[in-house]
């Protein structure tokens, strides 16, 4: 088990190095750099550009140097905890990210809880009452949630919430609370705005989760140990929760790996549509404007979380399920 752990930890290092190279290359694949994109945008809208100043900035940040030099500069900065400089904001990257991280956590965690709370009971119920009309209705609802484009749902809900509840459109709080210290009314305003993104982002995830739980559970329910237990007179609910449901949970544990980066990045498209102060829109913007250090460092951070997440989920799975543990040990 210990060698398994050490092995897993060591393999994270080359993985991260490889990811950093890929990220940096891909970000720099489009021609030009942040400033050429910026100039193009300005000129498109008819604004004059001070080319001398741009030249100055390009030299200043070494954008004219060969790519590998830029990469090394960036990578070594990262090692020392320096995430680089955002051209768009004229600020160090870590200052830009700021409390966006908090709001992203907030939205994502609430969404995950919402998803679990809705999906679990429905999933279990559909599996135990397979092909009943309630199963069909719930499944239909779930699919509707999955099939509705979330950005459309977002717009509709925003509009309705504004017309009927007077909630300001977009964002996570009423505008007057932005940049203000926390207070009860600010928290209430956040709560009033939070439910829309949570429902919108949640519905898509809910359907998928219901289906997965239902399928896993159905597999288990037909197994012989369940039949045996039932024959021996174990009460149905106790039986359900003690054996098949636990078995059906494995896929969720292995999901933690992808959950962590998801929590950080949020649902980018919905966040853009709803103009949430989360990290998703910022990343998208950075990528589009080739603000390479902001985008790169942020992606790197997410890659790091993914790697950690996968590690944690492997650990949890090994703890939870002896089969995984034993097989892993054997293959080493």
């Amino acid at each position: 088990m210990l060698s398994y752990l050490v092995h897993r930890v060591l393999i994270m290092i080359p993985t991260l190095i490889a990811i950093s190279m890929v990220i940096f290359t891909i970000i720099n694949l489009p021609q030009g750099n942040y400033y050429t994109t910026y100039i193009a945008e300005l000129q498109q809208s008819g604004e004059a550009v001070d080319l001398a100043k741009i030249q100055f900035l390009e030299d200043e940040y070494g954008l004219n140097r060969p790519l590998w030099q830029q990469y090394i500069y960036w990578a070594f900065g990262l090692l020392r905890g320096n995430m680089g400089y955002s051209f768009a904001y004229n600020l160090p990257v870590n200052k830009v990210v700021g409390d966006r991280l908090f709001f992203t956590f907030l939205v994502s965690f609430t969404t995950i809880i919402f998803t679990y709370v809705v999906a679990f009971p429905i999933g279990v119920y559909s599996a135990t009452h397979q092909y009943s009309w309630t199963d069909h209705t719930l499944t239909l609802l779930g699919f509707l949630g999955l099939a509705t484009p979330s950005f459309l749902l977002a717009l509709v809900l925003l509009y309705l919430a504004n017309v009927y509840f007077g909630i300001s459109i977009g964002g996570l709080m009423d505008p007057q609370y932005i940049d203000k210290p926390w207070s009860v009314s600010k928290a209430l305003s956040v709560l009033a705005h939070l439910w829309i993104p949570v429902i919108v982002i949640g519905t898509a995830g809910t359907a998928a989760m219901i289906r997965r739980l239902r399928a896993n559970l159905l597999d288990e329910l037909q197994k012989q140990y369940v039949v045996t237990a039932r024959a021996k007179g174990v009460p149905p609910l106790k039986l359900l929760f003690k054996y098949p449901l636990r078995m059906a949970l494995n896929p969720f544990i292995s999901d933690i790996g992808s959950l962590l980066p998801h929590v950080i990045s949020g649902a980018a498209i919905v966040s853009v549509v709803m103009s949430l102060p989360t990290t998703g829109p910022m990343l998208l913007d950075a990528l589009r404007s080739q603000d390479m250090y902001l985008a790169g460092s942020f992606l790197m951070f997410m890659a790091f979380l993914t790697v950690i997440g996968v590690f944690v989920s492997d650990l949890a799975l090994a703890l939870l399920d002896p089969r995984v543990r034993l097989q892993a040990g054997r293959s080493q």
Binding site: G46, L51, A52, A88, L91, L158, I178, D179, S275
Partner: protein
């Protein structure tokens, strides 16, 4: 200009009368009244009295209605870089355009111009920066000598627009309030540039910036500052803090009506009234009327929805014509009005055949006058107008708009009627008579005539218009394909000659007067999609690109140079007329419709916003020429002012 001794009232710029319209130095104004928002601070002694804040000779605003001070103006913007829009809207310029597009002194008390060569600027006595320091000729000297001529801050020297024929002006600070620039050759671009929405700032707050300048600052202090700001050297720090246009440094003193108070990054920027602003109304109230401008940042796609929910008091940016019905529906419920202003581009969208296309067969064709005319004749502008713009736009060539004094209907209608038969005749005349099985004409080398129109994929509008053009061009045997590209890539392909045709905005300034530069009509920059390489040749003084080889293009360039050298209104008007005639005959770009309407959402209580206006970048500065410092709220909403006064310190 023949008059050898110009007086203050002399006609400047050959055509723009001075002073009379906006600023009458001796105009009577009542005794100055203290601004309610500042009463407390004045009583507490933290702010000087109004008599000591306003210049001795303030600018007196001509307003439709005298207003009452107070209130917050909420606006929506799409990104942190949009803080610069407050410099555009604020529109405090040394010399500014009036709503009738004449140049008049604004920050300046007056300006004397001799033959577009000698410019004597007079400041208002007692004019102060937003932090209370005097605004003097020293601020002009600092920019000219210590910034523009400092090789670290400005490696390439003076801005190109101050260097006619490569020669800069002689700078003289005659006294505290008088500055003179003397060029050897006329520089007619000087004043229009100063009056632009992103102006040529020829002054800087010396008292603030000198602490970051190598020449004035204490070395060890400066080094510490550079270190603390995480910058590489003093020049980088200076450049970063010196953001008159970018407007992202709350510490930088300003002359604008509202000054930034929020340190970026933020999703909500507060701009507070400038206590030392130089304009007052006739009753002696200091402008701006509105206490604060609150700029909320939201994604550009959600801004129409937010505006429709009444979350903006003054919005034009990021609204599009197709949002009109939605916005109108919310008018009653959310207490705003939707007005439609005309936009200023010469054509909403225009097609640009690339005269520098690499493909030789095509190059021969697009350089053929008859071919360009045929393409233009086969565009059904009426249909585009009706289908996409509800018939509210004006069809025609990509040229000046009727509001421009230089406008002639013949320029707009030339080769712009829908006449498929004549277009076909012209194409037959060129010799493109062979057709393939589907009726598409064949090029001389046998390829079918398929034109790929590239665009920057900014909006669906471009593809919609192209869809209509495709139908009508099919009738002259030409196939059209639309190809959206990422903006940078799009431009790169045009510049390198890979693109055969592109669709984009028409000429930017459809409202030009004779005093404005006709650069858009001549090959002067690489940005011009119809002849990028010829433009680049001019821009780089022959170092890159190709010399124009088509006689009319050469002629346009000569005319443009004639405009630059001209010093009188007659010269400039003559040049403009010649240019417009050539432009109309040659159809270098194919216009569709112009004067598309821009929805402007205005809070129902906001006064002095004109119901009909022009929404344009340059000249216009969007709301700038209507001087938002004179906008005011008739019924200051109690709820709003309460929340403003109880606001926690920022």
């Amino acid at each position: 200009m023949s008059a050898p001794t110009p007086t203050r009232r002399e006609v400047i710029q050959g055509g723009f009368t001075l002073g009379a319209a906006l600023v009458i130095p001796s105009a009577p104004w009542a005794k100055l009244q203290e601004t309610p928002a500042f009463k407390e601070e004045v009583r507490g002694g933290t702010l000087p009295k109004i008599e000591d804040r306003v210049p001795e000779e303030p600018a007196v605003a001509e307003l439709e209605a005298i207003g009452r001070p107070g209130g917050d103006l909420r606006i929506l913007m799409a990104g942190p870089k949009d803080t610069r829009m407050m410099v555009v809207y604020g529109y405090a310029r040394l010399v500014a355009y009036t709503p009738s597009l004449e140049l008049a002194p604004d920050i300046l008390k007056s300006i004397d111009v001799e033959g577009n060569r000698v410019f004597t600027l007079r400041l208002r006595k007692g004019h102060k920066w937003s932090d209370g320091y005097p605004f003097t000729s020293e601020d002009f000297r600092y920019w000219f000598e210590d910034i523009a001529h400092n090789r670290h801050l400005a490696p390439s020297g003076l801005p190109i627009t101050m260097m006619p024929e490569g020669e800069g002006p002689l700078f003289e600070a005659l006294d505290e309030t008088t500055i003179r620039y003397t060029w050897k050759r006329p520089n007619p671009q000087f004043l229009p540039n100063i009056a632009g929405p992103d102006p040529l700032f020829i002054y800087r707050p010396f008292h603030y910036l000198k602490q970051f300048h190598e020449k004035y600052a204490d070395k060890s202090n400066l080094e510490a500052l550079v270190q603390r700001a995480n910058q590489r050297n003093w020049a980088a720090l200076h450049n970063r803090l010196d953001s008159m246009y970018r407007n992202d440094n709350p510490d930088l003193p300003s002359l604008e009506p509202w000054i930034l108070k929020t340190k970026p990054p933020s999703d909500r920027f507060i701009f507070e009234r400038n206590p030392y602003y130089y304009r007052i109304d006739k009753e002696g109230q200091q402008l701006p009327y509105i206490n604060r401008v609150v700029m909320s940042i939201a994604d550009s796609k959600i801004i129409p929805a937010k505006t429709g929910a009444g979350e903006s008091d003054l919005q034009g940016r990021y609204l599009r014509f197709d949002n009109y019905t939605f916005l109108k529906a919310g008018e009653e419920r959310n207490h705003y009005k939707v007005w439609l202003w005309r936009t200023g581009p010469g054509s909403q969208l225009a097609l640009y055949p690339n005269l520098n296309v690499n493909d030789e067969v095509w190059q021969g064709l697009v350089r053929d006058l008859r071919f360009r005319r045929a393409l233009s004749l086969a565009v059904n502008r009426h249909e585009i107008n009706e289908v996409i713009y509800f018939g509210l736009a004006i069809g025609g060539q990509n040229t000046l708009l009727p509001q421009s004094p230089l406008y002639g209907p013949q320029y707009r209608s030339a080769w712009a009627s829908f006449d498929v038969a004549q277009a076909n005749r012209l194409l037959d005349l060129i010799g493109l008579t062979e057709r393939d099985g589907s009726g598409t004409r064949l090029l001389p080398d046998g390829r079918p005539m398929e034109i790929i129109v590239e665009n920057s994929g900014e909006s669906t509008e471009q593809t919609d218009v192209l869809e209509l053009i495709r139908d009508s061009w099919r009738r002259i045997g030409i196939k059209v394909f639309a190809k959206p590209l990422q903006l940078t890539l799009f431009r790169r392909r045009v510049f390198s000659g890979e693109t055969l045709m592109s669709i984009d905005k028409g000429i930017e300034n459809g409202l030009a007067t004779a005093g404005m530069s006709p650069w858009e009509f001549a090959p002067t920059t690489q940005q011009q999609l119809e002849w990028p390489k010829w433009g680049q040749y001019y821009e780089t003084k022959g170092a890159a690109g190709e010399a124009p080889s088509l006689p009319p293009a050469v002629r346009l360039k000569e005319l443009y140079e004639g405009w630059l050298a001209g010093s009188s209104l007659e010269d400039h008007t003559q040049v403009w007329n010649d240019i417009l005639q050539i432009w109309a005959d040659e159809v270098f770009s194919i216009g569709t419709v112009a004067g598309v309407l821009q929805p402007i959402v205005v809070n129902a209580n906001l006064r002095n916003v004109p119901e009909q206006g022009i929404y344009n970048w340059d000249p216009g500065a969007y709301f700038g020429i209507y001087k938002p410092d004179g906008f005011w709220f008739e019924v200051p909403e109690t709820a709003k002012s309460a929340s403003a006064s109880s606001a926690t310190p920022r």
